[in-house]
């Protein structure tokens, strides 16, 4: 089990990550979302043992990762900026990984490469961003680690590769009980694969829980307001208007769905209809709400 206990990290005395608590079990995918500069990459680098935390602990099966080669053997990391050594060929970097990681499987790499189709003779410096991302992902999976930390792993990938990526990841999680922490700005992608989520803002956690809890915590509605009420006249802080189409008003509510339904009817909402809400909308709403 990966446990982040009250972890914090500063850069030149400026707080980058603060009071972070996360628990990720084997076989679970935990997403981390947040705006640019929220501290996601710093947190993930701490999780990968690249940075030492200034406060708190990061434990993999009760062992800290920083400067612990045995623990790092269990953790694979896909960086957002795959800056491998440009002079190495793919075959060369495979040999390097083979030497570093005890469980690295060249067979697994080759198996994955049947889908991603990278030429092993190519030097890394000649790969495109997307190809580097594919390489980093394949290396991480072939490492056969117990935990996988990924920072923006889908950036630069084409549609077909994104599908392969998702399929492979889910397969690894199911078959090998891989524990995954993934950060991404592609919220629809996160919504499809994650079991739980942490939303970060300015280095702090502003929301955490399972995806189901999150999806249930915010509702989107469409209604007509009677008694001459206008969207502007709705001052209830739990209601957030998002648009007006003719007589119809679209708005969000936070909290218990049944209670909100009852309250909205009492407030004069007619032709009330629940609408499909996306993670992106929930994220924006929570962010707005928490940073008020």
């Amino acid at each position: 089990m990966l446990k982040v206990l009250n972890a914090g990290k500063d850069y030149n005395k400026v707080m980058a990550v603060e009071n972070m608590d996360i628990t990720v079990n084997r076989g679970e995918i935990h997403g981390i979302i947040g705006s640019n500069g929220a501290g996601k990459t710093t947190l993930l680098k701490c999780l990968a043992g690249i940075y030492r935390t200034d406060r708190g602990k990061i434990l993999y099966d009760d062992r800290e990762i920083y400067d612990m080669p045995e623990v790092k053997q269990k953790v694979a990391y896909v960086s957002d900026n795959q800056e491998f050594i440009s002079i190495y060929s793919i075959a060369g970097i495979i040999r390097l990984y083979e030497n570093f990681y005890e469980d690295f499987s060249v067979i697994k790499f080759d198996e994955l490469n049947k889908k991603f189709q990278l030429n092993k003779k190519k030097t890394i410096g000649n790969l495109s961003k997307g190809q580097k991302t594919k390489l980093a992902f394949m290396l991480a999976i072939a490492q056969r680690a117990e935990y996988l930390i990924m920072d923006e792993p889908e950036s630069g990938l084409d549609a077909e590769s994104r599908k392969y990526f998702k399929d492979i990841l889910i397969d690894e999680v199911e078959k090998r009980e891989l524990g995954v922490v993934i950060s991404s700005h592609n919220l629809s992608g996160i919504e499809q694969i994650c079991d739980s989520l942490t939303i970060m803002e300015k280095g702090k956690m502003i929301w955490q829980g399972t995806l189901d809890e999150l999806m249930e915590s915010v509702q989107k509605w469409q209604a007509v307001w009677k008694d001459g009420k206008t969207p502007e006249s709705i001052t209830d802080p739990r209601i957030s208007v998002c648009g007006q189409i003719g007589r119809l008003t679209e708005f969000y509510t936070m909290g218990n769905r049944d209670e909100n339904l009852k309250r909205l009817s009492e407030c004069g909402a007619e032709e009330l209809e629940g609408k499909q809400i996306t993670l992106e909308e929930i994220y924006c709403l929570i962010k707005k709400e928490k940073t008020k």
């Binding site: 680098k45 690249i50 900026n81 440009s86 060369g92 410096g125």
Partner: protein
Amino acid sequence: MEECKRLFKRDKIFLLCLSGAVVFILLAGFINGWRLVRQLLEMKASFMEIHGEAFVEEFFSDDGMIFSEILEYACISMMKWIFAVVLLAQILKWGVLEGRRGREFANQLPLKSAGYVTYDYILGILFLWIPIAVEFVAVMLLSKGYGLTFMGKDVNENCVEIIKELILVSFLYSLLVLSKKITRYIPGIFLTVPVVFGIGVILGWDISVFWDLGRYSPGERSGYLLLAASVPVLVALSYWCDKKRDIAGNGLFYFKPVHFLMMAAIFAELFYIFLNSEIIQRGMAANVVGVLIAGTVTAGVHYLTWGERSR
């Protein structure tokens, strides 16, 4: 892609500048050396005309010696400059050009960051600096007329010889570590450690050669210089080699027979040193002790080099 192209171009420019600097140092060293030889020979000829042959023989070495001594001086001077340039270039490349990303990639790998540095430097201290310090004291005492004896033997003389051999062992070790570092680790990040270690070896060697300059014949001095010169040559070669992905990915010292051959050489060297030492009385007991000491040290070196694969 633009970033990759830029990086490639940067590497090429870096190598070109480094090659240019090395060629410049070599040329400058030889030209300067040759000028000095000519000046001395001209001065000798003019003194010959004024003061005669007897005077010249008293104050000047013969022509061959002048040439050999100046060449020695020029070679050592050039070696140091080349070392300084390579080291500075490496630090510049590591710190400025590769910067944070290189270090982050290294931190991502399952290595104990303090481990390899500590081991290198402890070994460096044990194999190199302690013998040099002992040698320094021993030679100084001898030059002051304080001869130490143990069981009727001259300790100072033997110390010097043993320490010379130990320096040879440290030289072998440094080459081994250097080669392993290059084959095992990432080029450009960890090379600084063996380069610094190599500089330690060459400086130690220089100190010992210069300190004892008068004690050795030109032939012996050339031998030492050849060994000393081979260190920067090997470092430089390794530096160029780390640019070649094949060597970086799968080097010679991953090859078990070669590794054990090196271990056997170190063991034989240590055993030879021990048996040749006149500090202790020879005999069966000495042989057993010699084997044990040589075996222990070799096992240690083996652990630190081959064994580090699993660290």
